[in-house]
Symmetry: C2
Subunit: 281 residues, 2 copies
């Protein structure tokens, strides 16, 4: 598999790159960003995946996430995929809404038309992209961690819960924890996966835990001034599910913080430090 270098820029002692490739999962070109800190020649480094939220591309966290200093300090590669297929011929929300379609792939493989051909973000982030980065970058896939924001927090939690051996640590910023129970998720899963709600449970962190999936521990930050807190995020549902399952959850309601990158960047270094403890032990 070949990749095209869109840009590579020195930053915080390492190289912040943006790359593009033809994706077999989505049938489109896909772009992602990847930061490689300074390292010994020949070394392979642990990796932190960051799945982005609604409307984002790789660029939002790359520009505003403030992760490079901490990744440089701890020697961690940071990868940020896009959030959906894009390009001519890729279907979008009929009304052009920002919560479905382009920028809103929800990290599922769609089974419904017209989405099934391109909207295969589950396969993309769990299979194709890991293979691609392992081929082209000095990543150590034995040492992976994952995090994400909002829709991407949903992605991080569901990918990790369904692959419990893959990630040494899992965290999220303001995640959608129960898409099957909130408007954003009901719209997306209903369109991508169809009206039968049973298959939705494989893409719903709370349902996965209820159905027996387990992780050693979770770190979740959410701002208590997040405008989506009550309607879309509902962290109390994750709290209840983890309590019921005896799963360790550190859920921090951050006072006065909202849903933006001003919130994410505030706690990014803290999450990276926590992942580093697991990745470098």
């Amino acid at each position: 598999m070949t990749i095209e270098t869109v840009s590579e820029v020195n930053s915080h002692g390492g190289v912040q790159g943006v790359y593009r490739h033809a994706s077999s999962s989505t049938g489109t070109d896909m772009a992602f960003s990847l930061f490689v800190p300074e390292h010994e020649p020949g070394a392979r480094l642990p990796v932190l995946w960051y799945l982005s939220g609604l409307t984002c591309t790789h660029a939002n966290v790359t520009e505003k996430g403030e992760y490079r200093a901490a990744c440089a300090e701890h020697g961690i590669i940071f990868i940020a995929p896009d959030t959906s297929p894009r390009g001519e011929g890729v279907p979008d929300d009929a009304d052009g809404a920002w919560d479905f379609g382009l920028g809103a792939g929800f990290y599922v493989d769609a089974t419904e038309e017209p989405w099934a051909a391109n909207y295969r973000m589950w396969s993309y982030v769990t299979s194709e992209l890991p293979g691609l980065v392992a081929e082209h970058f000095p990543v150590d896939l034995e040492r992976q961690a994952i995090t994400g924001h909002s829709m991407g927090g949903h992605g991080a939690l569901t990918v990790a819960l369904r692959h419990p051996g893959w990630f040494r640590s899992v965290s999220a910023f303001a995640p959608i924890v129960a898409p099957g129970q909130v408007p954003w998720g009901e719209k997306a899963l209903g369109n991508y996966l169809g009206p039968d709600r049973l298959p939705w449970r494989a893409h719903d962190a709370v349902a996965l835990i209820e159905d027996g999936a387990r992780l050693d521990e979770l770190l979740v930050d959410v701002g208590d001034a997040d405008p989506f807190f009550e309607r879309e995020l509902k962290p109390e549902l994750l709290e209840r599910a983890c309590a019921g399952a005896g799963m360790a959850l550190t859920l921090r309601r951050q006072p006065g913080y909202d849903h933006s990158y001003y919130f994410i960047s505030t706690f990014m270094a803290d999450h990276i430090r926590w992942h580093a403890e697991h990745l470098n032990r």
Copy 2:
């Protein structure tokens, strides 16, 4: 003087705001961003001014500058003004070029038409805005520092050289050090100040030092892969002027770094730490 709050968001323990006000200097509305870290009630905090480069508004450094963590750690207020007047009726470069006119005020008070009415960024950043922020925010104007990028590095150096008692420390990222000797500067100063080059010297850091202006010390970072290094920045001219004047200059040519916020953000915390040593001593 009244100001309008455009937005205030919690970040890194403090509040990142964006504000707008009717400027008497420029005859337009002007926006600026200002970060106030967490502090004791009633305390007045030292302030770091950041003047931005060509094409920028306050937003670029606010989103990509990675200054909040360090300002929170050291208790420093960070202020980022806009780079020019904007709005209907404000004249722009005849060809719409990005190196003159909107986004390119060059921190001078224009004397030439049609620029003189609105392009008064010198008065704005040296007089009007300091007065405004002192009225509305807990700044301690006895403890000020200044920095800037590119055109804003030019602004920081010239403002400081002409007001040597105002700032406890002065730094710059990839500054235009001798606008009178480079294409960007010749175009801007020629249009704003007219063809007579004598008045240009008051807005040229190298000329100011040659003409006797002094600062205790300067910290300057510039990437040696900066595409504007040789043609527009010419840090060797500052080096020579400081050597001739016996002025302490720490000029660091950062290997492989370019002109972007990936460069600035890499060294931002370092500059803030250095300013903090002067502001908090």
